[in-house]
């Protein structure tokens, strides 16, 4: 008998956070992520944690700021429009270097949009979203098991680098159920001598994002940039699948990468040499591995649930070397396996004619 549990992606985020030692959650309901606060509203009291439904997303993210400043592991979650509301707070968390985890279970925008799945918040997640020169660590799982693994990693990385980390998934991954194994994981906690958690017998700690003198603010920025360079050096993660002999590389992340995998299987049955490159960290973007793969293949296809956002980072690394084409759906629609297969076939036929 398997030890695995069948869980929704949203619930798995909640349980993974608990196993990672998170005892503070502040949120506000929005479809398609509401199962996550609903789950934690039951679970947090069982582990003597705090679940608080704030009056708005803005309140929730500022409660995250307060809790993180006191040194505890803390999380908030929302879906696209709600995550837009949190952006000011995320910029403050980044500047104040407060470890925290923010989850975005993406729905289709812009505006209030619709509750169906989307990946159209990629720019917002990896290129800032809030104001100023900052980055969140952005992790993009593609299965319920990987959600568990990456939520735990997000807490560890956030603590290690004193930086907000974001879990970026789409509505389908949040809603669907798959088996998960929580294993015998034990969280490792780091010392937080900077925390504002009572200053008996020591000097008070101040946590702020304001540095009025431009000279100080530039020094602060330079220090942040040095940290981002270090993260970029050490934390790039990606998956390569059937890439060994591939002529065509399909780049895709999150749930969409699984539709791509099915399309690749279908194309492989017909002898088409095609593989998947899947960024797992969206920031830092896995430039090193992508570069190696670009040197080996002949064409690139990018598939996203957007008008084309990650494709810009692919093109930056590609730097004009190979043709890059795009297939995307918007507004909550998802491409079928056959749609993506047809795109792969088109590229294959083109390459065959060329040869």
């Amino acid at each position: 008998m398997s030890e695995k549990k069948l869980m929704k992606g949203n619930e798995a985020i909640g349980e993974a956070a608990i196993t990672a030692g998170c005892r503070h959650f502040f949120g506000y309901p929005i479809t398609p992520q509401s199962e996550l606060p609903a789950y934690l509203s039951k679970r947090m009291p069982q582990v003597e944690g705090v679940f608080l439904q704030a009056e708005s997303e803005v309140s929730a993210i500022n409660m995250v700021y307060g809790a993180a400043a006191s040194g505890v592991r803390v999380m908030t979650s929302s879906s696209s429009p709600g995550v837009s509301l949190k952006q000011e707070g995320i910029s403050y968390l980044a500047s104040s270097e407060l470890p925290s985890v923010v989850c975005n279970i993406m729905r289709a925008g812009p505006g209030l949009g619709t509750i169906q799945p989307s990946q159209s918040d990629y720019f917002q997640a990896v290129k800032g979203g809030g104001h100023g020169d900052y980055h969140c660590l952005v992790l993009a799982p593609n299965s319920v098991q990987e959600i568990v693994d990456l939520v735990r990693l997000a807490f560890d990385l956030a603590d290690h680098y004193k930086n907000p980390a974001m879990i970026l998934i789409d509505g389908v991954l949040g809603q669907m159920m798959e088996p998960v194994d929580f294993g015998n994981y034990k969280p490792t906690f780091v010392e937080k001598p900077w925390a504002a958690n009572g200053c008996k017998d020591r000097k008070p700690n101040a946590i702020t994002s304001i540095h009025i003198d431009p000279k100080d603010m530039e020094q602060h920025n330079l220090r942040l940039q040095k940290k981002y360079a270090l993260i970029s050096e050490k934390e790039q993660r990606s998956e390569e699948w059937m890439m060994e002999d591939a002529d065509i590389m399909v780049a895709s992340y999150g749930m969409t990468s699984r539709i791509v995998k099915s399309a690749i299987r279908k194309a492989r049955e017909e002898g088409i040499k095609v593989g998947l490159f899947r960024p797992i960290t969206l920031w830092p973007f896995p430039e090193k591995k992508l570069d190696e793969n670009i040197n080996r293949v002949k064409e690139i296809l990018v598939v996203e649930l957007s008008a084309g956002q990650m494709i810009e980072d692919i093109k930056l690394v590609n730097n004009g070397r190979l043709p890059v084409s795009f297939h995307g759906r918007m507004g909550g629609m998802t491409p079928s396996v056959e749609d993506i297969y047809d795109e792969i076939k088109k590229i294959h036929d083109r390459l065959t004619v060329k040869a």
Partner: protein, 182 residues
């Protein structure tokens, strides 16, 4: 081997729980499983469907446009999903609530008066399990025994509903076998 199916009906017919039951049963047989609800602003009485994938391999796409099987519990679901079934696939129809014959001739069609049988054995709410029993008798992607064992676990806190659900599975399976023998 990968088996995928879509289960569809109206909200309240137990479409979602029936799919979850099948996924749990697949998990108990150490298969890879995936359950995905079509989620939307739906309510009781509205449209409901879910996708279940059971496989010996790593499961790729959660989005299935042409499933190997479809179970429809009402007429709008037949209208919506009849054309989706892959040629050679299976379509299970709850004839109690569907008053037309499917048009497809290139698939296996299993007729089962699921709601009538459910009423006969005690509760219309068991129609989902009758349909599931009929499907599994026709195409045993998971054993009915595994589903029964799963029922015991899922309803551990409500053991009084277990016998009805077990009976529903058996009666559905029986209806499918009688039909196959004709």
């Amino acid at each position: 081997m990968t088996e995928d199916l879509i289960i569809a009906g109206f909200g309240g017919q137990g479409v979602m729980s029936m799919g979850q039951m099948l996924a749990y049963a697949g998990l108990s047989e150490d298969k890879n499983v995936l359950w995905m609800p079509a989620y939307g602003p739906e309510t009781r009485g509205g449209f409901a469907n879910c996708t279940v994938i059971v496989s010996d391999e790593e499961i790729g796409s959660p989005v299935v446009s042409h499933p190997k099987a479809v179970i429809v519990l009402n007429l709008p679901s037949l209208d919506k999903f009849e054309d989706a079934v892959v040629p050679g696939g299976v379509l299970v129809v709850n004839t109690s609530l569907v008053n037309r014959e499917p048009k497809r001739t290139d698939i296996d069609i299993v007729h089962v008066p699921a709601s009538d049988i459910a009423n006969e054995i005690g509760s219309s709410r068991a129609a989902n399990m009758v349909a599931l029993g009929a499907f599994l008798a026709h195409k045993p992607i998971i054993s009915i025994e595994a589903v029964k064992n799963t029922l015991k676990k899922v309803f551990a806190a409500k053991p009084q509903v277990i016998p009805l659900n077990e009976k529903a599975l058996d009666r559905g399976a029986e209806a499918a076998r009688v039909q196959a023998a004709v």
